[in-house]
């Protein structure tokens, strides 16, 4: 018996984790909400796909954990985990039929129970559910045992079908806006989800492409390395030119909504690059970074909007004022916090962010700042008659802004100033003992970051044509901080990747509204646990973190409090 237990241990363990997950997902209403939409029309809904994916994934994990103990045990474990997951749902349904769970958990509705049994009556449904669970486990176990190449192709092509299904509302309009290509979209999608034929085709196409890629990959690589260095350089250059070209045509290709997403991502890239200087380079934890965003936006609004009637400059005339006032406010807000370290700095800056928001909201300053009603009728930017009005047009404005800011960041990174910031991040006292003027260096970091943020704010105001105090809450600061850490602290490409992941993806998933932030939160935790160095870390940081992990056994003494981040 005990041996049995130990044989099944991993299966039971992973099964329980999976069980808790699926029951939670069911009770928070995710399964039911997702089942409204199909991934493949009439075949499988998103809710069911979610359950299946979890069951298969946990089965796979169970298999992986028992990989050393032979095929039989692997399969048993993954099947056990699948059965446990299904069993937990059966128990949930049973429990729900005895007591009224709904008086506490509002999503425990009869509709949910019927969904969980795939619409089959519970009398037969529970056996079906258990069988389905076992089957999922079996599939996972077999998958684990199959050839790696086959496995990768299968997983990738199936997940691309799922992704296409999840993003249907975005893909379909984008594709169908494209005259000739709209045929593809008609073939792929039915009114709710992918069409069955479309899904199969997509799956096959991806599988074939992957298969060819796996075959030819090495050949291409060796061919590239055999090229003379001048040839390699041309190819690389060509790559860059292509990249620039892609960036230039992107909004035309992507259509209205995706361009809008790109502009939002771009604004956050601007913000992220600014905060990257403050936090990533200089190590000053700033949680009130939104203050400068607000200052940029409000300065632009006050200077350009006819609604308040103080000034009516154009966007381009107002922009320098916005950026300069942003820089100045960076210095002014920087002075009081010069002597604070670590978390004291964090909370003091958080306070600044809130103070600015409360002030622009207040009735007290309403005659000058618009109060709760905000400021409207902010003109769009324009150059010689070309107006940056639609997302596709604003995109170029933001692209230019990003290019400018990336350029400055790159220049600063390996300069005397960048090194001074990094030295300060590492050890403030020693940095000072090496001749670095802490006051000036810190203030310069605050000012540069604030300037970038104000630039972003100015574009934001013009993009939105109106500013409201509610747009500048502390969550924005937190979001920016998250994106630079998730991207990889101190890394410029990291900021871009982080913005795409933490701002772009949630935008794409706007229709999953209620569950968007839940997934966002879970993803943040998972990301930090699995990849603490970030998605695209600075090369050196990557090495450092890996070192830290490999040597964590003989861990060093914890960092002296406060000083470091």
């Amino acid at each position: 018996m005990t041996q049995m237990e130990s044989l099944w241990r991993h299966g039971i363990k992973t099964g329980f984790i999976g069980a808790v997950t699926v029951v939670l997902l069911a009770l928070i209403g995710m399964v039911e909400a997702f089942s409204q939409r199909d991934i493949i029309a009439g075949v499988i809904s998103m809710g069911h796909a979610l359950l299946l994916v979890i069951a298969i994934f946990m089965g796979y994990i169970a298999a992986k954990r028992t990989a050393l103990s032979g095929i039989g045990s692997t399969l048993i474990n993954s099947v056990v985990s699948g059965v446990i997951i299904a069993g937990s749902l059966v128990l949930l349904i049973l429990l729900g039929s005895w007591v009224n769970l709904r008086s506490i958990f509002m999503n425990a509705s009869p509709a949910l129970y019927s969904l969980l049994t795939f619409g089959i009556e519970f009398k037969n449904g529970w056996t079906f559910l258990l069988l389905a669970g076992a089957l999922c486990g079996l599939v996972a176990g077999l998958l684990y045992q199959s050839f790696p190449t086959f496995r990768r192709i299968l997983i990738t092509s199936l997940s691309s079908v799922i992704i296409a299904g999840v993003l249907q509302d975005m893909l379909r309009p984008t594709l169908s806006a494209w005259g000739p290509i709209s045929v593809i979209s008609d073939w792929l999608f039915s009114s709710n989800g992918l069409s069955l034929s479309g899904a199969i085709t997509l799956c096959l196409v991806i599988a074939v492409i992957l298969f060819i890629w796996f075959q030819k990959r090495d050949i291409l690589r060796t061919r590239f390395s055999r090229l003379p260095s001048s040839g390699q350089r041309t190819l690389r250059m060509a790559g860059y030119v292509l990249l620039v070209g892609i960036f230039l045509v992107l909004p035309q290709v992507l259509g209205l909504f995706l361009s809008e997403v790109l502009t939002i991502v771009g604004l956050y890239v601007l913000l992220g690059l600014g905060l990257n200087i403050v936090v990533g380079y200089a190590g000053l934890l700033d949680l009130g970074y939104v203050a400068f965003f607000a200052i940029g936006a409000y300065v632009t609004a006050i200077l350009t909007s006819p609604e308040l009637g103080f000034f009516s400059l154009t966007f381009w005339q107002a922009l320098p004022f916005a950026v300069i006032l942003g820089l100045l406010s960076g210095v002014i807000l920087g002075v009081p916090v010069l002597k604070m370290r670590g978390d004291y700095l964090a909370i003091a800056t958080l306070g600044f962010g809130e103070i600015i928001r409360i002030l622009v909201l207040s009735d007290f300053l309403r005659p000058w700042l618009g109060g709760a009603q905000g400021i409207g009728r902010i003109p769009k930017a324009s150059i010689g008659g070309y107006e940056f009005a639609t997302p596709q047009q604003i995109y170029y404005l933001i692209l230019a802004g990003c290019a400018f800011v990336i350029f400055i960041s790159l220049r600063l990174k390996d300069s005397r100033l960048g090194r001074a910031w990094k030295a300060m991040r590492e050890d403030e006292d020693v940095a000072q003992a090496m001749g670095i003027n802490l006051v000036a260096t810190k203030l310069l970091a605050f000012a540069t970051g604030a300037g970038f943020s104000a630039l972003s704010g100015a574009i934001f105001a013009s993009k939105l044509s109106s500013v409201y105090p509610h747009s500048f809450n502390v969550m924005i600061s937190i979001n920016i901080l998250c994106l630079i850490i998730v991207g990889g602290m101190g890394s410029i490409p990291g900021v871009i990747v982080g913005a795409v992941a933490l701002v772009g993806l949630p935008e794409l998933l706007r229709e999953f509204a209620e569950y968007r932030l839940l997934v966002y939160g879970a993803a943040l935790v998972a990301m930090m646990l699995l990849r603490p160095e970030g998605l695209w870390p600075e090369v050196l940081h990557l090495r450092e973190l890996q070192d830290a992990q490999s040597s964590s056994a003989d861990s060093e003494t914890p960092a002296p409090s406060g000083a470091r981040i």
Binding site: R411, S415, R416, R419, A420, K422, V430, M434, G435
Partner: protein
Amino acid sequence: MAILSAEKMTKRFGGLLAIQELDIAIIENSIHSIIGPNGAGKTTFFNCVTGFYRPEEGRINFNSHNLVGLTPDRVVRLGIARTYQNIRLFPNLTALENILVGLHSHLKAGFFGIVVGLPSTRHEETEASKEAVRLLNFVRLEGKEDLLAKNLPYGDQRRLEIARALAARPKLLLLDEPTAGMNPRETQEMMDFIQHLRDALGITILLIEHQMRVVMGISETVTVLDYGKKIAEGTPDEIKSNPTVIEAYLGRGSAAEAR
């Protein structure tokens, strides 16, 4: 000719007298050691010189500048650089970057110059890199430019820290226990290296040391502190035979030789 001198310098921490009316003079181009039992105020003296602490009374003169009240970054610009008892490199910067930070006070590039990429800024940057590589070679760290400081072996870190201090082009170098944690062979190498430093660069070296072998081997003058007071000063031989010193060390049972 004294390059650094303190007159009646006193430093208190609350009620505790860390240093009491200290008078000390360091002769230019000499190697001068400060010794004393733990808590005698040696490192506190370093911190007062480099501007981290501010003595309550007295003066510290360096080449006719009064150092009291200057911030550490101003002090280093005058020509005083230091190392630390427990190595304090910038762990996540490369060896080369550590040196370049040391060069900070001798570079002029400003925000504008960096962003615009002025020719003078670029020139300065390439020169700085060259000098940094030269310094790395000087401390026998050639080829380790791109390693993170924290990944270097212990001895390399010590030498890198010295090189970083040298990058500030000091006239006076303060070394806080440069041989701490080293085995006899490494210690000997470090002694040779310190002497070589003084001879090759013509600078003054003030060091805190616990290993009597080092102190007696390379210093020209030795000052002994105990409870914040100077109890003796002289050549190594004079100190060896000074009864007060022997009592301070042996009398309280913390024999110097034991360390």
